[in-house]
Structures are given as C-alpha cells and as structure tokens.
C-alpha cells in the first residue's frame, strides 16, 4: 500500500500522457488547388470539370469562386456530397457580357491532406462552351498553393 502511494504520483502523469489524444496536426495539412482554364481567345461562358485526388489521403473541405468577375460572384456549382471525399465535379456558367478569354482561375478547391504521401491530382474536362453554347477547345491546368 505504501509502495502504491509512492508510485501513484508517478503513474498518474504517465497514464494521462498515454490516454491523451495524439497530436492531430501531425501529418495533416491544408492546401488549396486552383483550377485554371485557358479558352484560347474564345469567351468562356460555361465549364464543367471533374477533379480527382488519385494518390494520397485527401479530403475536399471547400470550394471557392474564380478570379474573373464573370465567375467571382459566387462559388461554382458542385455536389455537397463531394465534400469529405476525394472527387468532385465543379462547373458554372456566366451571362456576363465580359467573359474571360485567356487563362483564368475558375475555381479554388480547399483540401485537407493527411499523411506524408504527396497527393497527385487529375482533372477531366466535361464541358466548355462559348456564349452561344458551342463547345470550344480549352486547356486546363492545376496550381497548388
């Protein structure tokens, strides 16, 4: 009993350390990926792209609007079910008379990356059209902040 009373002050801090949560921030970081589209001189009136994090433990945590005034007024359309997943489809249209004709950020994806594995992203164009609704050729790219 006497031994226990001596060990107790030593055991309690050790037990607290063992039972406490580990460092949640260890190996977790937040980053953002910009989706860029270059309509090559044509007015970009609508777009729809699919983004996938193919490698790494990545979760989507948010979607922000683009930078051009035509796409900056609101976030693009996306399925809320995509949040906390690693795949999302974003798209938007604009009736603005001043549409982007050059490389422009149309959306920004906020991501949570867990673990040390460097994530790899893939993007697929689903639709891109000018103001008449005609499909236009575009170039897409990603930019991780």
């Amino acid at each position: 009993m006497k031994r226990l009373s001596l060990l107790l002050p030593l055991l309690i801090p050790l037990l607290c350390l063992a039972a406490g949560p580990g460092d949640p921030a260890a190996g977790t970081r937040f980053t953002s990926v910009d989706i860029l589209i270059d309509p090559k001189g044509q007015p970009l009136a609508a777009y729809q792209v699919e983004f996938t994090a193919e490698v790494g433990r990545v979760s989507l945590v948010g979607v922000e609007a683009g930078e051009h005034p035509a796409y900056a007024k609101r976030p693009p359309y996306y399925d809320p079910a995509a949040l906390a997943g690693h795949r999302i489809i974003v798209g938007d249209y604009s009736l603005d008379p001043n549409l982007p004709r050059n490389r422009v950020r149309v959306a920004r994806l906020m991501l949570e990356v867990r673990g040390q594995t460097k994530p790899q992203y893939a993007m697929k164009l689903m639709a891109a059209a000018n103001a008449d609704g005609k499909t236009i050729p575009v170039e897409m790219s990603l930019s991780e902040q």
């Binding site: 009136a45 609508a46 729809q48 079910a81 795949r87 489809i89 689903m126 059209a129 609704g133 499909t135």
Partner: protein
C-alpha cells in the same frame, strides 16, 4: 279647340284683317339675308369638319390597331430553348447556360425545361440543371458502358461457359467506378 272662320260668316272684315296680319311676308334686306346665310353655312361647315375629324381619327385608330394586331400575329416566334438536347441523366453546364440565356432574353421556353416540375420555368430550373450536371452519382452511372458497348446485348446464360466470361466483364466494369467512389 280650334274653329276655322267661315268666310261666309258675319265677320268677313275681321277675317280678312286677320288673314292680312298673319300672311304678310316681312321684307328682309338682301344684306341681312346673305349674312344669315353665310353664318349658317359657316356653322354647318364647322360642324361637318368636326364630324369628319372624328371619323378620320376613328379610322386611323382602327387602322393602327389592325396593324398592331397583325404585327403581333405575324411576329416570328423564336424557337423554344433547346434544353431537350440532353436527357435528365446527363445534363451538363451548357444546358444550364442555354436555359439561363433564354430566360434572360424572355424567350418562349419549352415546358420540358421545367426540370423541377413546379409548373414554372425559371432560375430554379437552371439551378436544378446545374446541380444535376455536377452530381457525382450521375457521372458514375454515366460512365457505365452499355451492354451493346460491351458486346453483351444477348441475354447472359449463367450455366453456360461463355456466359461466365461476360459476367466477369460486367463485374469488372461495375467494380471500377465503385473504386472511384471511395
């Protein structure tokens, strides 16, 4: 009660005097007569002019109404929004753009564009199309190839040997998108 005077009565002189008094024609100077005639002619002419003006105004108004009615009737109808280019399962953002454009231009819009079924084609239908376009489940289904594309348009016979290969192919195809959903 009126009683005619009998000329053979006892008052012939009185009757003659009365006849003279009421049957004489007063002498009107020709100047006054001409002036009265001119005034009457002028009054009648003014009245006739006002009646003609009213008639012309009525005719012009009726003509304008007819022209407007004809213009409305013969106005070329712009085609309804071609939203029917996509089936509900594979809308994309271009469909939303096209409907939004037609709504902004106040064009006649096809009732088939009432995607949310509320009886009105409005911005909510545009939003519904856009939401359908970015829905994740749709694209998984959309990725699945048809039986024709797989060469499996014939019924699969589970007991036969050749059907087992087809069943494996289907299982692989179905398993592929599920992996993507994780």
């Amino acid at each position: 009660m009126r009683q005619d005077v009998d000329p053979s009565s006892d008052l012939p002189e009185f009757a003659a005097a009365m006849r003279r008094a009421y049957s004489h024609r007063p002498a009107i100077p020709s100047e006054i007569d001409a002036r009265l005639s001119a005034m009457a002619a002028e009054r009648f002419a003014a009245w006739r002019r006002s009646r003609m003006a009213v008639r012309w105004a009525g005719a012009v108004a009726a003509g304008l109404a007819a022209v407007i009615a004809l213009a409305i009737a013969l106005r070329p109808q712009r085609p309804a929004a071609p939203i029917a280019r996509a089936t509900p399962k594979n809308y994309d953002m271009v469909d939303a753009l096209l409907l939004a454009k037609h709504l902004a231009a106040h064009d006649a819009v096809d009732r088939a564009s009432d995607v949310n079924g509320d009886g009105v084609v409005d911005q909510r239908d545009v939003d519904a199309i856009a939401a359908a376009a970015v829905r994740l489940r749709q694209t998984v289904a959309h990725r699945l190839p048809t039986l024709n594309a797989l060469g499996l348009d014939k019924p699969i016979r589970p007991a036969s040997a050749e059907s087992s290969d087809s069943a494996k192919a289907v299982a692989q195809v179905v398993a592929a998108p599920r992996e993507g959903m994780r």
